[in-house]
Chain length 163, copies 2
DNA sequence: TATTGTTATACTCTATAACTATA
DNA sequence: TATAGTTATAGAGTATAACAATA
């Protein structure tokens, strides 16, 4: 905090809300890529807005979930699981460690590696986040209805198919 | 360009590729929000990778498409159409104007407003981008197959439903 | 007073390259 | 030489607040 803060009361960017209309978007509207972007954006904003947790955005949440499900995972493996460079993971994990949510232990078999684990308070926090995510998901479920499994399958096939 | 460039040969961030696996992602995998993020990310990277156009990312492309479809649109209206703050649109449009792709004309009826239009070369560029987007979309179409209309509908309902 | 667009400011996310320490 | 993680650096994207011009 080298400089005085002048800006908003809130660190989480992106209020704005969803796109307006009456404006013609042309072919954009029929493009999967564009609609993907709009939906992702809306979901992201809604998650941030609805969640009471004021500083663990979806990225941290995803990392914590992966660590929870793969105790002892290394940073490089984690980086592949969330499709980010390892240099992106370093500060992310440092942040989680600073908050006492993640513990880092040097591996004794390969001293280059660091094994990641959630701390007890990390597990607690994950439960809280899970609850929020679940309620956010219920909202999404209500919107997509019975098409949910199909939607998930389609999204996965896009992710895999474009790799 | 006030400073020397040290980094890569390419301004477009985000190589990396898609997520790896063998790693358990737990409930994340069944979450619409998460899968939306992964698919959007993959689509974004693929678009950037496949497109020959080396410096007009999806955001610019979307803005240009909206301007093309709504000649004379104002910046504020555009900002609503693409769900971004007007202060975000200012530098975006300045960039497009600098490249000679967009023309800005002060409205004579309301001198606060600026009417946006694509220049001739902006229209040309849009055609090139359209071609790339179309080929990217064909790839997506091949992946999602006949489910495309349903997918588009679902994504739109998510965007609208979360507003 | 309200709105359009601009500016000043700043923060998040992400990457590349080079580096250290291991292996 | 190759890999794990860190650091230095940088840029894209986006936002809030305040402001000037205009309505």
């Amino acid at each position: 905090m080298s400089q005085s803060r002048r800006a908003g009361r809130d660190l989480r960017r992106r209020p704005v809300a969803a796109a307006s209309d009456a404006t013609r978007r042309g072919r954009l509207d029929g493009r999967i890529g564009f609609q993907l972007r709009m939906a992702q954006d809306a979901s992201f904003r809604a998650f941030a807005r609805d969640t009471g947790v004021r500083d663990l955005r979806p990225g941290r949440f995803a990392a914590m979930t992966v660590i929870h499900n793969n105790p002892g995972i290394t940073q490089t493996t984690l980086s592949r699981a969330i499709a980010r460079d390892k240099s992106t993971v370093t500060p992310l994990i440092q942040d989680l460690e600073r908050r006492g949510l993640v513990a880092r232990v040097r591996s004794r078999t390969d001293r280059r590696c660091i094994a990641l684990r959630l701390t007890a308070s990390g597990e607690d926090m994950l439960l809280v986040l899970e609850a929020h995510a679940a309620s956010h998901d219920r909202r999404l479920d209500r919107i997509v209805g019975p098409a949910k499994p199909a939607l998930i399958r389609l999204l996965k096939s896009i992710t895999d198919g474009l790799a």
